[in-house]
Symmetry: C2
Subunit: 360 residues, 2 copies
Amino acid sequence: MRKNILVIPGDGIGPEVTTWGKAALEKIAEIFGHDFIFDEALMGHAAIEVTGNPLPDETLEKARNSDAILFGAIGHAKYDNDPSLKVRPEQGLLKIRKDLGLFANLRPILLFDELLEASSIKPEILRGTDILFFRELTGDVYFGEKFRSEDRNTASDLMIYHRYEVERIAHKAYQAAQKRNKRLCSVDKANVLESSRLWRETVQEIAKQYPDVETEHMFIDNAAMQLIKNPKKFDVVLTANLFGDILTDEASQIAGSMGMLASASVGESTGFFEPIHGSAHDIAGKNLANPLASILSAALMLEIGFGLKEEAKLLVDTINEVLKEGFRTNDIADQNTERYKVLGTTEMGALVLKFLSQKS
Amino acid sequence: MRKNILVIPGDGIGPEVTTWGKAALEKIAEIFGHDFIFDEALMGHAAIEVTGNPLPDETLEKARNSDAILFGAIGHAKYDNDPSLKVRPEQGLLKIRKDLGLFANLRPILLFDELLEASSIKPEILRGTDILFFRELTGDVYFGEKFRSEDRNTASDLMIYHRYEVERIAHKAYQAAQKRNKRLCSVDKANVLESSRLWRETVQEIAKQYPDVETEHMFIDNAAMQLIKNPKKFDVVLTANLFGDILTDEASQIAGSMGMLASASVGESTGFFEPIHGSAHDIAGKNLANPLASILSAALMLEIGFGLKEEAKLLVDTINEVLKEGFRTNDIADQNTERYKVLGTTEMGALVLKFLSQKS
Ligand SMILES: CC(C)[C@H](C(=O)O)[C@@H](O)C(=O)O
Ligand SMILES: CC(C)[C@H](C(=O)O)[C@@H](O)C(=O)O
């Protein structure tokens, strides 16, 4: 198979981890005889530094012409500390999501048995958890009109949804639920928000077309609680952009660490694959970041982007093996024990490649 | 001390649990020789049924004339299942918050040692946690303009903040932090939302007036994760209405159960005290609800509303004792063991009163 892959390392720990996602794809291409052609582009703070623009035209152009995108992370402390800056790294990520029509963000909560103890949640609560989040990605308060009064004393963002936006992601989520455990939980705040009432109404309508799937509606506050209390009760979770942002980060504690979670954004054409973690400036450049989420993003690209199930499985199995052998990055090592071999970013990435090589 | 207390039982399990919050106040009055005069009023579905209005004028009038309000819960399945209904129970709660100027919602995460094991989170992660949330309560997307297009296909809610709204709650939160561990974490989504940028800017300004308090700014997605990963790192958490709604429900898992958390809403005049749990229609009327959050709401009324520290402490200590003796309601009983004496709502409420009587 021949594919054009665009790599966008981004900011903070983005470049360090994306190196290994890309390397894993190269190794897979070698093992299975695929032809993956790589290009690279700038986004975020990295792009502002060079071009003044968080999403340069050239990046968007390259993105449009690629079959899939492997992305790292975005954001920089400078902007976080100065809310008044007008040009901001995150605008690049939001714009590429919108321009490529990436309306569905899939975030599987993949639980490695070996990491059950790395979580702050009790293993007996976690065991057996398998959740697939569908987060809407191109609507909501993220893209509604922003306003700041001239005296700077009033600010607003419009939380807005159109019925078709809810419909198209609901269909995707229901179709996924049909292939899984046939349960779908739609999360909103319909007791307060009009946009959530539209969300709930629309999901209720779409649900009728999938009578084999059991639908539940839950308020976001309750969902944030249930996710920790009893994660096993969830199968597919369907939710809006902002609520999905919050719930999936929270759910990273189920997987033991944010450093283990990947996401796939799909929609109209090119798929976009990225770790769910952020740019983590505090550990950037220190060889401390966990490269496994980027490698798992590569696995999602293989499976969801290219339909290469066997290849994706090989990556996931290899990571499992590495963990079984007791290798950990800092974020997933249980601090209280001496039983793990704790590796840096480079060492962990290289080890996964070595294990992969031994399989070919 | 002479005080007029308005009891608003509300919907679902509201009446069952509020009975015990009120009874606890009566017992405290008896023990300490106070004069608490009670009145009762309707709100929510209960009020719609009788008057067609979720917040009848009479209730608002009584509320204005009371020194404190003890509230139960709000909401009904009928409205949750039918997003198109125009008159909704929750409107009553939102309107009373707004009309009484209850802009600061204090939610202490009180950790009973005895309940460390009732949580889904590991006891060693929880031990020592002590968080006080300040949730803004009369602004945000809760009160911004709502819109539904004529064809019903577009819906929106305006997420909006004014600087003074952020300032007044920030002052309250900083003042509380000064009396606690001198750390304040302000939670927003300033990397995406303009209203959050105003929030962050304003908190940065106010922070300068409290140089003895250490300020941290955190994005809501990260906060939802950190709260589970390392709850001990938080002291005072300051956040907007919507984010506070989500985070405090999530934090209920720290306390073992939502059935153990109370909140105080304060602002311009009369204080409003309520459990953070909802109306829980599924268990309403079954003698299954936990009355302790209502009794703890009464304790907050004594402490925050009336400045009666000793009285409040007696209630909390008594609950501690009841738990130490192995008594539990269903929600806080560890399902896997036989070691607890599991009680219904009435039995638990009566037991707390009995323990209280023995102290007087
Ligand atoms: C960086 C930020 C804009 C982004 C978001 O909020 O969508 C991130 O948190 C994510 O979840 O991908
Ligand atoms: C019932 C609902 C309107 C309310 C809210 O969202 O504020 C509740 O969840 C709460 O937290 O008090």
